[in-house]
Structure formats: structure tokens, C-alpha cells
Symmetry: C2
Subunit: 513 residues, 2 copies
């Protein structure tokens, strides 16, 4: 059996079912092997950022890694921004990157570049396969690296000749031994239990917010002790909506973040680090907690924050908090597309079992607050600040959960980085509704420009405007086989979302702001 | 004066006139300074691959570097594939990349990543600025690194606080001392002169093919000695068309390349390396020259091949070769869009002073052969094999040469990597005609799949087809403000090209194959 086929068979036996791909010549033996074995679902992206963004969305929902297939250093670079986001999310992902055949690497061919160095920048684990005999063992090691707690980005570089040579064997799934979480320190646990109270905030992220049980535990702790709870750091997935305790995030604007954390004298960190401002600004600190705040780092990312919460609830004997009964948001009336009306239209329209993919930045800012009474949903966010993940992530989430409607809340500027993912949604007939907030500008950067003390004139503003010419997202979607409509009225928006989430296949709604 | 402003003023005094940008928060002080100084033309790209592809096209035509403005490690990664192409072309380019303020770098902020390591992969020269006092000197060093012979990719990383702090001074342009080419070895020159003859091939690239005088010199050498001349390696710009000696390239398919070079017993390299196959294949060599062929490396990339050719002509006393009189290609009749008819429609329609940007791969393969009698033109090619440079490169070439029509010959699969460049063409009202060859597949990969010995089934072919759904490039272009039309008849294609190249602004023609 050749290297490529044995690798794919081994990964499949170990549980990998989906391959997101944008292959080139150096991966043709994998394309051939995927075809011959027909073990994995192969999903083509027209650009590598689509591939890794989709693999991230898939893994966040499926709770297991997909494999990606990428082409040499330039393909890996194109995949890099969404690898960055996935890495910050601690998403499990296994990248297979082809390289030139070994004997070809010494020459200056057009595509020769440093693949391992490119991989290193955005991966937690990198290895180059050195023989056809070792390829499946290497692949199992990569899978183990990717799939432990927390997840990691593992990148395996396969020279073309190792993929096409015969003599490889299949490795048993047990070879991919994943890391178990490191134990929680019992002294720290006692210290944290004692610290809970009205002056204390629990800052949590990671796997904690993916678990409805842990979220209920946090609610119990808040009710029993008066402790505040906030989401902090990159949040891979948040389970929220009716019946679930709503956990606010630390705000993005640095002054709001500082104000939100100023009241606290103690912070307990659970799968979170001490919170840091997104960017540094003149005359603002980088760290967001008050200087005198005591920090208790109860669980790091490689520990199981869910166990820590269970133990805290036990230690305090906190009784179950009363169930929350937030009312659903009423739909908006016809009228102007204000931020409130836009937010209400979306919050009111969210269907049962929704997966919300959130790449809003400055629009529809009240959707979280207004949707606490919406049916329980999974909420996926931008984790690493590299814009252009929303449409790919929605694509991957829909692949993982074909029975759940996916709703993308999408800034227009960010959408243009990886819009090609719409084509994959059409090709795979995925039930994704993408709502574009067409404010025709990099609004977030206009806000940032003022924060560095600028007094912007026409040239600066021109570099932050997308209105000349205006992007027509309905035409763009049509060009990739996705139907769509432009909407200017919030009542119409509500009705349209309600209608299209029930239909199979993708749809794009351009909300003109 | 703050760091950002002094840097821009210094670069402008040294001759940099254009900034291609996709900025983020860590570059806001540059946006502010570009606005206040109004010294440079600022051109916004909606994606970083557009920015670096356009900077490459600009520099290939303007023969000087543009500056790019990129955001942190993910922005630089998005720029990477076209940096790779520009680096292989030895295009001069100066990238300014913002990083977090220095005090912020020690924290795990969402966008924190290794910017210098990301830069190193696709740059020839990298430096991080360490103080506001050194910023302009560092920028001059970067410019010198970029603009020497040959061109280089220079990347200067600027922490945000260094850009916004006061206390910087302007450096005089003389600080940017560029490298002069290394001298040609006179012994090698004598050896090469003796070697010329019917069994010899001159393989040339780099600056040689940008010079009509050098091309005429090569024609004289060919006529006087019977030596063959071929273009080899990455070719940044080729001057060709009526009255110019036509220099064929080594073919892409490995068997054709081996056959083309088999007759030669000696090869003289002028700004070229011994030619290498694009990829390695089972049972094919990596190096393309016959094993027994003697190689005379007359000029490396850091030497001036144009001087070498002048010296060879002098040494041999080669008289001027008779002027070539290739007839213009007649336009095709109405009928099927065969490869010949398609090629003829384009070759016949090429206008005076055209800049042709060539990202064809498998379509319109006869355009070069049929356009030897077309008006003199500049021909820009994909140099590094990273697809997705055509539309950005055409954009940059049009910025450099506003008085010349730009014609993009564009594969459909490749177009989808950086299609966002169409929006920049519309915004800047650039006279670019993009001709998309809509064969609805990665045809080149289908050919490659067979070369690795595969016998592809439906899954493999599905991963190489773009026909489900079909991309509608006219809708995609309209979505970005570029008018377009779909064409199925070669006579109509000819007429449409003739018409739209005369109009200002961009246009897209989708040729259905």
C-alpha cells in the first residue's frame, strides 16, 4: 500500500471522517487515495483560508478533528490566518501539507520554499515525514497531538514521493494516544472556594462554556455566593439561550473592559489567562484586571475546568440555582434598520437548535442581550482577531451538524477575505443563512483610528470606506450559486430569516445599514 | 514628528510614491500619517494577497518598489502567497507590518503571534524597529535592500508605539544605498563566447528579458552563431511583439521540457539557474538539461545579464540581425470556442502598448505563438507557481502605467483566490480587461493526477471540478462594481476586447469553454 493510502486508512480507523481540501500537484497521491478508499467525506474549498476556517467550525461542533489537505508553503500561508484563529481557540486540527519529493527539494523550483518554517508559525506541533515506513506512525502522533486536551494545531508535512511510494502499513487507532487533562490542584481549589463572593469574578473560557452542566454549575456558584461570572479569552463555543445561565464576555473596547473589571478584588481563572486588551493604546494598560486584584489561576488550558467547577459546587454545597425564565425577544415592527431593530429581528428569528457563527464587529451589537430567551443555541466566535473566518466556520459547522440550522452574523469587510466559502456551501447544499451587515466600511478601524489620537481627513477615511464602489453581496452570492436578497426593513428581515432557515441549502441576506 | 510620519516622508523623498494597503489597528498611525502628509497614492485592497500581488505588478512595470501596509502575523500570512511569487520574480518590494506595542507583546492577546518568523518565510530581508529614533534609518535600509540588483522582498516590522511616539527625524534619500550588480567574470565571458553555436542554448531570465536592447542582442547572437535562446526560471517581465525577437520559454510539462533541452551540449546561463522541473514525478529527473550538457553560469541574478549580452555581441562582432516581420494574427471567424480560435481572438485583439498579465494555465495556449506580430507589449507571468496573482498583478501594473491598457489572461480556478482585486480596479478606475477562461475545473491538476500514476474515479475528479455549482464570473464582477459579459463565440470575443480596451475602467469577460 502506498504512503498516502495507508495514512488515510489509519486516520479513518482512528475516527477522522472529513477532509477539507485545496490540493495541488504535491498532494495528488492523497486525492487519488481519497478517491480509491472513499472513507472520508471530501470537501473542496476554493481558497485555503476556507479550508482551515471550515475545519475549525467542524471541530468546534463535532468535538473531533477534521483533516485538511494543503499545498506547499504558499497554500499553507493562505491557510494561516484561520489557523491562527483555530490555534487561539485550541481547536483540534490535523493539517496534511504536501511538499516536493525529497530529491527535488535541493533545487530552486518555482514553488520551493520553507514549508516547515511556514507551518511552525501557526501550528503547535509540526513534523516532516522522513520515510514511507514511518508515515502512518507520524500521522497517529499528529492526530494525538491535535486531539488532546486542549486541542492543538498539528501539521504533518509529507514529501510527495513518500506519499506515492509503496511499503506503508496501517497503524492501529490506539497508537494515537491523546493527552489527558492535568489534575486540578486541591490547594488552589480550596483557596478559590474561599475566595468566592461579591468582590470576586470567575473568568472562564475553553471547554467550560461548551458544557451546559458547567454553565449550570457556574449559575449555582453565582447564586450561592454573589460571585460574578464572565467569559474571557478566546471562546471556542458558548452554549447559551433559554434555560441557560447567560455569561457575559469582557467587552472589546478597552475602556469598557477596564470599567467592567474595576469592581473586583479577586479573580478565579478557569481555562483562562489574566485578561489582556485586544490592542495596546497610548495611556491605557495592557492588562485589564485592577493592579491590586488577587488572581487565582485554578485551571489552565491543559486542565479540565469542568471538573474544577463541579468540585467548587461540591465544596460550597451550592444548591441548584432557580431556572431562568427570560422571555423570547418580540420581533421588530417595520421601520428604520436601527441597531436595536436589527438586533431584535435576528434575536427573535433564531430557530430551534441554531448554531450562530458570530463575525459581527460593530453591527447588531444587541443580539446577545436580546437572545437570552431564544431557543438553546451554540455560539461560535472569532477567537484570534484574524477577520475572515465567519463564512468558512459556518460552512464547517454545517458539515458537522447537518440537522441544525447555521446562522452567520457577518461584518461586510470581514466577509470579503474568504467569501469563496459560499461556493462550498452551495456545493455541499449546507443549511447556512449568512446575514451580511453592509455598513460599507471598516467601522471598527474608524473607531480605532480615533483611539490612537488621530484626527482623520479624507485620505484616511477613504482607506476605511468600502463604498466606492458599493459591494453588492447578492450578486457576489449569486456568482457562487447561493441565492440571496437585500433587505432594508427589520420586520422583513425577521420574516426572511424565519423562512430561509427552514429551507435546505444556503442563503445570503444583505442588510443595508 | 512621530515615527510613522517621518518614515513615510523619508521613503517618499527616496522615491516611493505608492502605498498598497490593508491596514488594521496596529497600523492606524500610518493611516493617519498617510492622510496628513498626502505624499503617497494610497490604494486599498480588500485582502492582503491583493496588496502584495498589486505591489508586485506595480514594481515590475514602474521598475521601483511600492510600499505595502499589512496587519500583524495573520495579515502577513494572507499576503504570503503573492510575496512568494514576488520573491521568485526578484521584484523590489517594501512591506511595513505593524505589530503590537512593545509592552503588549509579552501577553497572550488574541492577535499575538510571531511576526518576525512569519516575515522570514517570504522575505529576503527582515528587521524589527527597536526605537522611534532608528525608524527612518531602518526604513532606508529596508528600501536599499528592496531596490538593489536584483530586487528583494524587504519587510520592516514596526511595533505600534514606535509609530505613534514623537522624536523621529527624516533621513536623506542617500541613506538608501542600493547594491550595484556584481561584475561579470571575463574568463567566463570568453568561455561563453567560444561556446556559442548550434549545439548551445542561452538560457536567460531576470532583467535581460525586460530590455529590448538585450533582446535584440540575443537575436544578433542567435543569427550570427545558430545558438538557441530560451527563457528560463521565473520571468518578471518579457518585452515582446512585432519587431522584437521572440524568445520561447522552457515548456511546463516535464516531458516537453526534457525534449526541448535534449539537443543541447552546452548551456550558457544569464540571470538564470540550471533549469528544474516545476514538480518532481516518478521516473523523471528533477534537472532538465541533459546530464552531459556543459553549463556555463555567465551571470547569476546579482549580476547584470544585460552587460553580459552586450559583451558577447562585441566579442563575436555579431552584426545586427535582420528585423523580424511576423504578420499580425487575423481575427477568428464565428464558430466554436476552440483553443485555436480563442487564442487567435486574443492575439488579434491585443492593442498598442498592451501589458499582458498571464495567469493562463491550460487555456488559450497559443496566444504567445500567435501574438509575435502584435504591437509591442509587456508580458507579466506567474513566477512562483502560487496561483492567485493575475488579477492583483494586473491591478498594480495599471496603477504604474495609467496610459497603457492591461489585459489579464486568467484561469478560473486561480481567479477565485484573489478575486477581491476587481473591487480595487473599480475603485481606482483602472483600464484592466480580465478575460476569464471558464473551463470549470482545475484542469492542470487533472493532468497532474495522471502523471502520478492515478486512475481517477468520481471522488478525485469531483475535487478537481468547479462545475457544481458553476461560478458566474459576470455576477461576481458586478458584485464588486466591475461590468462584464459572458462570451461563447471567438469572433464576438475579438470584437468585445477591441471595444473595451478603449474604454476607461475595468471590464471582465467570461469566456465559456
Amino acid at each position: 500500500m502506498n504512503g498516502a493510502e495507508s495514512l488515510l486508512r489509519s486516520l479513518h480507523q482512528a475516527g477522522v471522517e472529513v477532509c477539507f481540501a485545496n490540493p495541488g500537484t504535491s498532494e495528488m497521491q492523497f486525492v487519488d487515495a481519497l478517491d480509491r478508499t472513499r472513507l472520508m467525506r471530501c470537501i473542496l474549498g476554493l481558497f485555503e483560508g476556507v479550508v482551515t476556517g471550515a475545519a475549525d467550525g467542524y471541530a468546534r461542533m463535532a468535538e473531533k478533528p477534521a483533516v485538511t489537505l494543503l499545498h506547499l508553503a504558499p497554500g499553507l500561508a493562505n491557510a494561516g490566518a484561520n489557523l491562527h484563529n483555530a490555534r487561539k481557540a485550541r481547536t483540534p486540527m490535523l493539517n496534511l501539507v504536501g511538499d516536493h519529493a525529497r530529491r527535488h527539494l535541493r533545487y530552486e523550483a518555482p514553488l520551493t520554499a520553507d514549508v516547515p518554517a511556514t507551518a511552525a508559525v501557526f501550528s503547535d506541533w509540526v513534523r516532516t515525514v522522513h520515510s514511507t515506513q514511518s508515515i502512518t506512525g507520524d500521522a497517529m502522533d499528529a492526530l494525538a497531538a491535535a486531539w488532546g486536551h486542549p486541542g492543538q494545531i498539528a501539521t504533518l508535512i509529507v514529501p510527495a514521493d513518500i506519499g506515492w511510494e509503496e511499503g506503508a502499513t496501517i497503524e492501529p487507532p490506539e497508537r494515537a494516544k491523546t493527552r489527558a487533562p492535568r489534575d486540578i490542584d486541591s490547594d488552589l481549589l480550596r483557596k478559590a472556594a474561599t475566595a468566592l463572593g461579591p468582590d470576586t469574578v470567575i473568568l472562564c473560557g475553553g471547554t467550560v462554556l461548551e458544557s451546559p452542566d458547567s454553565i449550570a454549575g457556574l449559575a449555582d456558584l453565582a447564586a450561592a455566593t454573589g460571585t460574578s461570572i464572565m467569559g474571557s479569552g478566546p471562546i471556542r463555543r458558548l452554549e447559551r439561550g433559554a434555560g441557560r445561565f447567560e455569561i457575559p464576555r469582557i467587552p472589546y473596547p478597552v475602556d469598557d473592559a477596564l470599567a467592567a473589571l474595576r469592581p473586583f478584588r479577586r479573580a478565579v481563572l478557569i481555562e483562562a489567562l489574566p485578561p489582556v486588551a485586544f490592542f495596546a493604546y497610548p495611556e491605557r494598560p495592557s492588562l485589564l484586571l485592577p493592579e491590586e486584584c488577587e488572581v487565582i489561576a485554578l485551571a489552565d488550558f491543559d486542565q479540565d475546568g469542568r471538573t474544577a467547577i463541579e468540585a467548587l459546587v461540591d465544596a460550597l454545597g451550592a444548591p441548584p440555582a432557580p431556572a431562568r425564565t427570560a422571555a423570547p425577544c418580540p420581533p421588530p415592527s417595520a421601520g428604520a434598520m436601527t441597531n436595536d431593530a436589527l438586533s431584535a429581528a435576528i434575536a427573535a428569528a433564531l430557530p430551534e437548535g441554531a448554531i450562530v457563527v458570530d463575525e459581527r464587529l460593530t453591527s447588531a451589537t444587541n443580539v446577545p442581550a436580546l437572545s437570552t430567551g431564544a431557543p438553546p443555541m451554540s455560539w461560535l466566535s472569532l477567537t484570534g482577531g484574524a477577520i475572515g473566518i465567519g463564512i468558512p466556520m459556518a460552512t464547517g459547522a454545517a458539515v458537522a451538524c447537518p440537522d441544525r440550522p447555521v446562522i452567520g452574523l457577518q461584518a461586510d469587510g470581514s466577509a470579503m477575505y474568504t467569501l469563496q466559502a459560499l461556493w462550498t456551501q452551495a456545493r455541499e447544499e449546507l443549511n447556512v443563512t449568512t446575514i451580511i451587515f453592509a455598513n460599507r466600511g471598516y467601522q471598527i478601524l474608524k473607531q480605532e483610528l480615533f483611539k490612537v489620537g488621530a484626527n482623520p481627513g479624507p485620505d484616511a477615511l477613504n482607506m476605511l470606506e468600502l463604498n466606492r464602489p458599493e459591494l453588492d453581496f447578492v450578486s457576489l452570492a449569486r456568482g457562487m450559486g447561493v441565492p440571496g436578497r437585500r433587505v432594508t426593513d427589520p420586520a422583513e428581515l425577521y420574516k426572511l430569516i424565519r423562512a430561509v432557515v427552514k429551507e435546505p441549502g444556503p442563503y445570503l441576506i444583505e442588510v443595508v445599514l
